[in-house]
Symmetry: C2
Subunit: 104 residues, 2 copies
């Protein structure tokens, strides 16, 4: 799973969101390190919807139509696996912290 996909699932975990909103949520969440553009997220969201990782419903807010995406159980499980991997890697990365502190 790419980082973009991982973080899209991550922000949807908090609350349902529409695509445009997801972009800024991911950027915020990752402190600007991961900021997927529209050309990235819309294809991923369709993939996610096709694969059953998210569902969406249409909403019309002041004349503008939105697709609001909600994460499914399948999506949550996929994210959980990714999260466990992230934390496992974090543990071994923590050993590097004192080394870089010493050198830089």
């Amino acid at each position: 799973m790419s980082l973009s996909k991982f973080f899209i699932l991550c922000v949807l975990l908090e609350r349902p969101m529409h695509g445009y909103d997801i972009t800024s949520a991911v950027e915020q969440k990752t402190d600007g390190c991961c900021s997927p553009k529209e050309g990235t997220i819309y294809p991923i969201l369709r993939q996610f919807a096709d694969g059953g990782y998210v569902t969406f419903y249409l909403e019309t807010v002041s004349g503008r139509e939105r697709k609001v995406y909600t994460i499914t159980d399948k999506g949550r499980k996929a994210f959980k696996i990714g999260l466990e991997e992230w934390m496992k890697i974090t543990k071994s990365l923590e050993l590097c912290v004192p080394i870089v502190e010493r050198c830089c």
Copy 2:
């Protein structure tokens, strides 16, 4: 910085290594989540050498020639920045742990 680049710098932080060795070190370090292939690491290592992030010397071990790569201060600094970003993201990801524990 891609994850492959990040983890290559990470394993070189521990000790100088030759390319073939880096592959398995990264795979170990990341628990198999990130396992860059030869077609990935050799171009990156050349990029790193060109950019001054690593240096290398030639070594001949039982007839076989090796390039042993050592991380430089510049490489360490670059890794440090990546590591700080990683840890910052980890902090906000930690908020997700109780949520996925509850749901899955």
